[in-house]
């Protein structure tokens, strides 16, 4: 690794470490997001009724909507920390590539959302009667890819919305339409792997997730500097 790249990787790691350390100490975001996720899962369960087949059929959609809603809370909070004491300006003033800020926040948000999912997915399996263990390898691939895509786009739009007064409202308005292809692929992919993939379609949904992740990751990295300028 050349010197310049090593420095930028160090800056990415510094941003991720800072966000995760602050979160680990306060758990302000984690507690709220976890409680919210559990609540959404339970409420959907009540809304769908006691029919076990209906619950199982709806479970992938419920699971990914829960992750999406929880993600919005996490992405908003990620920039709220920077705005509280004017830290965002200081971050922008450091020399070096500003994309390191974005990448560091992607890493921190990815760890955070995956940690939430590590609790929410088993809970969904219990509440909705899902065969989690049998589907684990395929489900892990879908969860990792869909979460990476969601976190990339969410972190990007979180930065864009952070400069606006009504950011809590703006972020979902920006984010939800963009992630529709990701949501469809994640729900269909999850449905396929949970059913044992009888039609062999899981691979196609996973490929769609890979393409979404690549396209949006590159686009977000390239555009980040432009969206954070006042």
């Amino acid at each position: 690794m050349n010197g310049r790249l090593r420095v930028e990787v160090g800056r990415v790691a510094a941003v991720a470490w800072k966000d995760l350390t602050a979160e680990r100490r306060t758990r302000a975001n984690a507690n709220a997001v976890l409680f919210f996720s559990v609540l959404v899962l339970v409420l959907f369960g009540f809304a769908l009724g006691p029919d076990a087949d209906a619950l199982r059929a709806a479970a992938p959609g419920v699971l990914w909507l829960t992750v999406l809603f929880s993600g919005v809370l996490a992405f908003n909070r990620s920039y709220q920390v920077e705005l509280e004491n004017g830290a965002f300006d200081v971050l922008l003033l450091y020399p070096g590539d500003r994309r390191a800020i974005f990448l560091g926040k992607v890493v921190a948000n990815l760890v955070f959302v995956l940690a939430i999912e590590a609790l929410v997915v088993p809970l969904a399996a219990v509440l909705y009667g899902l065969p989690l263990l049998a589907a684990l390898p395929g489900l892990a691939a879908v969860v990792l890819l869909a979460t990476f895509g969601l976190v990339t786009v969410g972190t990007f739009y979180g930065a864009m919305a952070s400069r606006v007064r009504a950011r809590e409202v703006l972020l979902p308005l920006l984010l939800f339409p963009i992630v529709i292809p990701l949501l469809v692929a994640a729900v269909e992919g999850t449905t396929a792997v949970l059913a044992g993939d009888p039609m062999g379609e899981a691979g196609a949904w996973i490929r769609l997730l890979v393409v979404f992740d690549l396209v949006f990751f590159i686009a977000c990295v390239l555009a980040f500097e432009h969206v954070i300028e006042e």
Partner: protein, 242 residues
């Protein structure tokens, strides 16, 4: 018209800050309307003016946090728009807000800053920076419990670690006690003596006495007057501390 916006040039070195025809608009309101200013290495300049006169906007443009609507701004010979990343290598800013993280300790805030500067963290230097601003005993405490003055001192420690060529200070004396003011002035003096420069937006010129040379007055986005700060020998009108 007197060419009061220009400091004495330093042979062989570009001006620390060079501003030509700077204008900046927010919506329909012009915050800056054609500012010309030159700050040479080794100079500490005060920016005076009422609230809303454009002092903070000017500093933010020089710091690359805002793009100019019109005009050209250079820091150490580098254009703030086309060479923004290079400019950020030279500038250090103390703004209204400290830009610290409440849930990190004082030492952790500095370690994070050093890593973001792309430098290797040296614990000895961090301990020295904290000691220099009187926060050695609070190194392991979370910033959440710090007073406004202690936060200011920590920002000063961060600047000491950065050692920028161009210091941009926006109301730096607010929240500092007398000892804090002396620490800040000593740092500005040290920066200027090693060939750096400082631009200090302030309402409290008295606290910068003995450090600040020229004082420039901004009014409605225009530089309207230059004064020499009291006790300096340059002829012309003197800005006397209240």
């Amino acid at each position: 018209m007197a060419d009061w916006s220009r400091g004495a040039p330093t042979p062989g070195r570009p001006p620390a800050v060079e501003i030509e025809g700077l204008a900046r608009r927010f919506g329909m309101r012009w915050a800056l309307r054609g500012v010309d200013l030159r700050v040479e290495p080794g100079e500490a300049v005060a920016l005076l003016g009422r609230n809303g006169s454009g002092k903070t906007t000017l500093l933010r443009v020089v710091a690359t946090l805002l793009r100019p609507t019109r005009g050209r701004v250079r820091v150490a010979g580098r254009d703030v728009v086309r060479e923004a990343a290079a400019v950020r290598e030279h500038v250090g800013m103390m703004g209204h807000a400290p830009g610290l993280y409440d849930d990190l300790t004082a030492a952790e805030n500095l370690r994070f800053a050093v890593r973001m500067m792309g430098r290797v963290v040296e614990e000895q230097r961090i301990a020295e920076a904290l000691a220099a601003v009187g926060l050695a005993a609070e190194a392991g405490e979370r910033v959440r419990g710090f007073s406004a003055g202690m936060r200011r001192r920590l920002v000063l420690a961060r600047l000491r670690l950065q050692r920028p060529d161009v210091l941009l200070l926006d109301e730096p004396y607010a929240s500092f006690d007398a000892e804090g003011v002396e620490l800040l002035n000593a740092f500005v003096r040290e920066t200027v003596e090693r060939g750096g420069a400082a631009v200090v937006a302030t309402h409290d010129l008295a606290r910068g006495e003995g450090v600040l040379g020229r004082a420039l007055v901004l009014e409605a986005g225009r530089l309207v007057e230059e004064m020499t700060v009291a006790r300096h020998s340059t002829p012309g009108r003197e800005a006397v501390a209240p």
